[in-house]
Structures are given as C-alpha cells and as structure tokens.
C-alpha cells in the first residue's frame, strides 16, 4: 500500500521519477528502440513526440514491464524495470492507445475489479470505484456496459482505471488519438487535473499541439532514436514556434504590409513573408507578445485586417526544422536553411 502514496512529491525536483539510459529493443531485424536516453523529473510531464513507428509505444511497453528491453537500463520511481518488475507495477498507471478496459463489463465493474486486483478490501474497492466515476464524470454511465460508451467516455474510464491504485508515475500512450476535438479537450482537462495533483506523467503523442498543451519538456524521437529534447519553449524557439497569418482587407497592400513588419525592428520578429497565392502575410512568432505587437504595428500604420490566425508547426515541420538544423551544423545546406 505504501507505494501507492498519491503525492510522493520531491519539491527539490532533483531525482528523476523516470530515468532511461541507452534503452534498446529489437523486433527481429528492426531496432524499435535504438539507444534511447530520457528523464522525467518528479511532478512534471514529459511529452514524447514522434511519428507512427518511431518507437513510442515500444518505449511505454518497456517502461511498464510488458516488454523486456534488450539493452540499457530504465529506473522508474526507484525501481529497475527488469530486476524489480513486481514492485514497479505497484507504482505505475498505464493508459494505452486502445482503451484497456473490459468492454463487456460496466464501468463500475471494471473499476471495482481493478481495485480488488490491487488488494483493496471490498468496501474500499467499492468506494474507490464510485469516487473515480464521480471524478471523471461517469457516474450516470456507471452501470452501462462499456460497449455502449462513446470514445471519450472510454478514454476517461481508462484514465480512471489507471488512477485506482494512486500511481506515482503515469504513462499515457497517445491518449487522444482518434478522438474528435471536443472529446480531446475533455481528456486534456482530465490530464491537467491529474498533473495538478502532483502526478509524474510520460505522455506520447503525434501532435505538436498536444505536447504544447500538456508537456513541460519534450523529447522528440524518430526511428528509435532521440533526435531532440528540451523545454517546450526552447524547442519551439528552435523550430520557429507559431506562425502568424494575417489577411489584409486590401490584398493589393500585402507587399507593403510585409515591408512594414520587416522594417519595424520589433523584438523577436525575425522576418515576414507575403504569400500572394493565399493572400496572407506570414510572420513567425515566439509568443503572444509578438502577436499583439504586430497587430498594433499594422493598426498604427493604418492597414486593415480581414482575418488573423496562428498556426503551430506540424510534426513534419518540427522534424524538418530539427533535421535541417543538423544539416546546417555540418555546413552542407547552410544557404537553403537561411533562405
């Protein structure tokens, strides 16, 4: 029971809750994990960002004792995944890409079963099931079989199931893949609440937006290797952050607008490009401050704005930026990178 202490927080934040060194996992000839290093500080959220097949799920499966790594070490909450799997299983919660609940059972029965499997006495398991259903707004659906649940309800039940044992480290493997935007926001809200309660989270995702919404730090992986890591803002700065898209009221003034922004000398604005084809002005920005500054500048110059929006770099763009950066460092594509 002791291992289930909910807020096992270390205010110093010095010791990582998850420490992975040189993790390797083969499937036949393919190296699903090819020497992965990463760390998650206690009480923080690490986003593991990567495309399909990058090795995200293999990583989560290794860290939750479902797979035994071929090489390297991984220590979670002080337990080695290979040598102390039984202890480790008491301290982790897992929410997979596909809802890992029993579809033929009701939501309540699922949670009660998990409580019993985690050695809660019957009354405590009952109470905990009620509590979690309440917490995840599933009380009305408690007695319905999971087959009748919507996609969002299933994910919420899955999160609730992971929380029954009050884990100190939670793995979320693509928690919102396949959900519509509204449901996705619901799930995000739940995750934020859990993080606010002091949970350490390792989150895998394909979406830059999701990582930005939830993660404190990011690790980008591709083909089983870590290709970049750092704070969300740090990484965003490297890939250019958001792009501001402004549509002028008078399309003819587009070039003029671009020149005004470029020559403004505003802090953090590196450039502005007119895209005549789409009829918009594109300005890479790092934060909201620049958005306000650009709009203010255009207003003071008397430009009319018909439409305005920001656009996050897609995963493709992030990858392009990171791999392009490497090329720049080696000097090969320096000119293209500048252009």
């Amino acid at each position: 029971m002791a291992a289930m202490t909910p807020h096992d927080k270390n205010p110093g934040g010095r010791s990582p809750a998850v420490a992975v060194r040189g993790l390797v996992k083969h499937f036949g000839a393919t190296r699903a994990l090819d020497g992965v290093d990463l760390e998650v500080r206690e009480g923080t959220v690490l986003g593991v960002l990567g495309p399909n097949g990058a090795g995200k799920t293999t990583l989560v499966r290794c860290l939750s004792t479902l797979l035994v790594p071929d090489a390297g070490t991984a220590v979670v909450a002080g337990y080695d995944v290979v040598r102390q799997p039984r202890q480790l299983r008491r301290t982790i919660g897992l929410t997979g890409q596909y809802a890992s609940v029993d579809e033929k059972l009701s939501g309540w029965e699922n949670l009660y079963m998990i409580g019993r499997l985690l050695d809660l006495p019957r009354p405590a398991a009952r109470r905990r099931a009620d509590e979690m259903l309440e917490h995840f707004s599933l009380t009305d659906a408690a007695r319905r079989p999971v087959t009748q649940y919507s996609g969002g309800m299933r994910r919420r039940l899955d999160l609730a199931a992971s929380m029954i044992g009050r884990p100190s480290v939670l793995y979320l493997d693509e928690p919102t893949t396949g959900l519509d935007p509204r449901t996705r926001n619901e799930v995000w809200d739940e995750i934020r609440r859990m993080v606010a309660e002091g949970m350490t989270v390792l989150l895998t995702t394909q979406y830059m937006e999701e990582a930005e919404q939830l993660a404190d730090e990011l690790t980008v992986i591709d083909r089983g290797k870590v290709i970049a890591n750092g704070g969300v803002n740090e990484l965003k700065a490297r890939v250019g952050g958001r792009t501001l898209r402004i549509r002028p009221s008078d399309p003819a003034r587009l070039p003029e607008m671009a020149r005004a922004v470029r020559e403004s000398g505003l802090d953090g604005i590196a450039g502005a490009a007119a895209d005549p084809e789409k009829g918009v002005l594109q300005v890479p920005i790092l934060a909201d401050v620049q958005l306000t500054a650009v709009v203010g500048l255009l207003a003071s110059h008397g430009f009319g704005i018909a439409d305005i929006g920001t656009h996050l770099p897609s995963l493709d763009e992030v990858f392009l930026a990171i791999t392009g950066e490497k090329a720049t460092a080696s000097g090969a594509f320096a000119e293209e990178a500048v252009a």
Partner: protein
C-alpha cells in the same frame, strides 16, 4: 508495511528511501493470489451474463445432442424397441463429449482475450499472471457442470435410469469435469499459439472429430475394423465414456477409471506449465 518508512522520510533523503525498500517486497502471497482469482472469476461470470449467447450454447448443445443421437441412431444401433437401452449407453458418453466442446471454447476465449487492451492492463498490474488463466478455467468448469446437469436431465426425460446410485452418478460427473479441465490446458496452449480465434476453432476441429467419433462415445466398438478398434481403445475419450457408463450402469470400471485419471493428470502436467510459460512470455 513500509508506510512507516515513507512517513518518516522527508524529501531530502528520498534517494536513500528508495534503496531501503526490501528486495522481497512485491511478492504475491497465496491469499492475495486467491483474491485476484476471485476478482477475475467475477469478471468472467459477468462477461457470460453480458453475452447470453455463450451460455445458450452450453445449455442447448446437450439437449440437441441427446435428442439427435437417441432418436436418429438409437433405433439403428440398439434395435427399434431398445431405444431406452441406447439412452443409457449414449448419455454417459455424451458427458465426455460435452467437456471436449467446452474446453475448445476456452481456447477461443483466451485467444480473443489476448487481442484486447485489457490484457495489457492485467499484465502491467501487480498480480500473478497465472491467475488470469486459473479464473477462466474455474468459470468454464462451472459452465461444463451446468451443461452436464442439463444433459442428465434430458437423459432422464428420455428414459435413462441410474442403475447404481447417486454417488456413482456424481463420481461420473466429477470424472468428466476433471478430464474436461485437463483438456482446457491443451486448448489454452493452442489459443496462445495460433493467430486468430478462427484458427483455434479450425485446428481444434481437426483433432476433435476423429477423437470424438473414433471412440466408444456413440456406438460400441465391436463392429469396427481391427485398426479402428485399436485406436478407440487407446483414445482417452473412450476410457472416459466407458468409465462414466460403468459408473452409471454398473459393471467393471477399475481400469477405465484409472486410465482416465492417468490421462487427465498426464495432460495437465505436460500442458499446464507450457501454457502458463507461453502466457508469461507472450507480448
């Protein structure tokens, strides 16, 4: 147990606290194991309730088989006026067959279970992995018992009579259940080995049909050609059918009962560890 340890430690000495945890912590005791099996048995029973179809199979199959064999083959095998004698011959034999069909369903069920995310959850939880299989077997033995009671009820309706005593009738049921349980391990192993539930079914049928019909379940073996009679004599299903018949109708039973028990133990000893090992390794 280590609550006190955690309560005492402050944030600064967190690393030491981790090293302090005893190596044996996390081991699953027998009582916890029983509790886990109980929770999983409940799960399997609820699944049956949610899917009445699967129970209907177990309930209808014995009725249909009893009627079919008694009325279609009964007259031909035992003579038109001797149908009652055939009831007493075939119903104990059908008990053996019941075990076989339900054991096959276990293999299909295990295979389907593995395709679902919930198995990942079980495997990432601090429970013994065998408890998932044991719970399944417990529930299926219950299903087998229900099917057998219905079969016997049908048999009595068709004129079967117990020529020994209730005790021996219960012994016949027990023996059939025991043998059926040992068969489940074979099908669990099969279910964990092949790709799809359909493949489990296909391969199982390939083995089942010759075993079922090449036995003394449905007809006495004395009219069979020598090679087939030899096969039926070594067929464990014949042993079980003969043992069940002897228990219900009286007669020499020692050898067939011992053979059946021997088979049940041998099958379990060989296949259960293989199945559990396979279950552990499966990813």
């Amino acid at each position: 147990m280590s609550t006190t340890v955690q309560a005492r430690t402050s944030a600064q000495d967190a690393p030491e606290r981790r090293q302090v945890r005893p190596a044996g912590e996390g081991r699953i005791g027998p009582r916890a194991h029983l509790r886990h099996i109980g929770a999983l048995v409940r799960r399997n029973v609820l699944q049956l309730k949610q899917d009445p179809q699967s129970m209907v199979d177990a309930l209808l199959m014995p009725i249909v088989f009893a009627l079919l064999f008694v009325y279609v083959f009964g007259g031909a095998i035992s003579g038109k006026d001797n149908r009652d004698a055939y009831v007493n011959y075939v119903v104990p034999g059908l008990m053996a067959m019941m075990g076989l069909s339900i054991a096959m369903a276990v293999g299909v069920g295990v295979n389907e279970d593995f395709k679902k995310g919930v198995m990942d959850r079980f495997r990432s939880m601090p429970i013994s992995r065998s408890s998932v299989l044991i719970a399944k077997i417990v529930v299926e033995i219950g299903r087998m018992a229900v099917a057998m009671v219905i079969l016997l009820g049908m048999g009595f309706l068709l004129g079967m009579e117990v020529r020994t005593s209730v005790l021996e009738l219960l012994a016949a049921m027990g023996l059939s259940l025991l043998f059926g349980a040992s068969l489940m391990w074979i099908f669990i192993l099969l279910g964990l080995t092949v790709q799809s539930p359909q493949a489990v079914q296909g391969m199982a049928m390939l083995v089942l049909l010759p075993l079922q019909f090449g036995s003394s379940i449905f007809a006495p073996t004395n009219t069979m050609p020598d090679w087939l009679r030899t096969f039926t004599e070594y067929n464990p299903l014949s042993n079980l059918a003969d043992a069940a018949r002897a228990l219900v109708n009286g007669g020499e039973l020692a050898s067939s009962v011992w053979w059946t028990l021997g088979w049940a133990v041998a099958i379990t000893v060989v296949t259960a560890p293989l199945a559990v090992g396979r279950f552990r390794r499966k990813t």
